[in-house]
Symmetry: C2
């Protein structure tokens, strides 16, 4: 299992950042690789959504369960149905108050790639090692892109409201 944390400072209050993150269908509009996001089910403090995302030029889809902790401004996610390379994927979005209307946004990933079994390669194409390396690269690249997209949108809203 791999574990990573990525972060970015955002010049917007933590409640606004949390609000942007909590709206998964809106998030799809602001992050270009996300083709679609659809809430399949929602209930007390959670939702289940299907995402379709362009990952390195290939459309991938997965189903995520998100749990909301608005008091701590934390959203945890866990993939119930994973993309082709992924055996397990979960983590948190944390929107931490830096004071002065600024936020420390943190994204964590705990994940494991699928393993090749016998003659069967991962996603029909990759050895276990290749799948692991590709997934680590995708998490690294997408984390920076995700954080950057949230920052751009939150700071745009602050300017628009000014």
């Amino acid at each position: 299992m791999h574990y990573t944390e990525h972060t970015l400072t955002i010049d917007s209050p933590p409640d606004l950042v949390y609000e942007v993150l909590a709206d998964i269908e809106g998030y799809a509009r602001l992050f270009p690789p996300t083709e679609s996001a659809k809430v399949l089910e929602s209930g007390d403090g959670y939702e289940v959504a299907r995402l379709v995302v362009d990952v390195s030029g290939q459309l991938q889809t997965w189903v995520t369960r998100r749990e909301f902790e608005p008091r701590r401004r934390v959203i945890t996610y866990r993939q119930l149905e994973t993309a082709a390379l992924v055996d397990e994927m979960q983590g948190e979005w944390r929107s931490l108050d830096l004071g002065d209307g600024r936020t420390q946004l943190v994204l964590t990933h705990e994940f494991r790639a699928r393993q090749a079994v016998g003659d069967e390669k991962v996603a029909g194409r990759f050895t276990t090692e290749e799948a692991d390396a590709l997934l680590q690269q995708a998490v690294e690249r997408n984390s920076h892109a995700d954080l950057g997209a949230v920052k751009t949108e939150c700071e745009r809203r602050v300017r628009a409201a000014a």
Copy 2:
């Protein structure tokens, strides 16, 4: 100018993490690449210290000015005298409260490598592009190592006190 942020969750209260970070001479003992750290001057809310650090197999030295904000648990640093590849280097250590005795530790770097001038290479050996790439790699590697060393020490103290 490059700007990076790195982060790690620590299973220790933010006051303890801040205390570990604030003791720069103690820090030298817990982070093996640091050969020595010596406070040259200290005053109201700041200190100036000289560090000698093994960076990728070569001893480097610089002088840093650190400013303390214990209420926000932030330490800002700025290099007054830089190492061979470095034109400018500054940033922050932030010890953010995650609740439940846990801390989100964040380390930011704002930096620029030295530029080759005419026939004179950077540190006598590198083109501007090489110096820039080497410095970016060193910041990336050292950030993870620094955060990991702080986490190990803080969690050791929590266990020792239990």
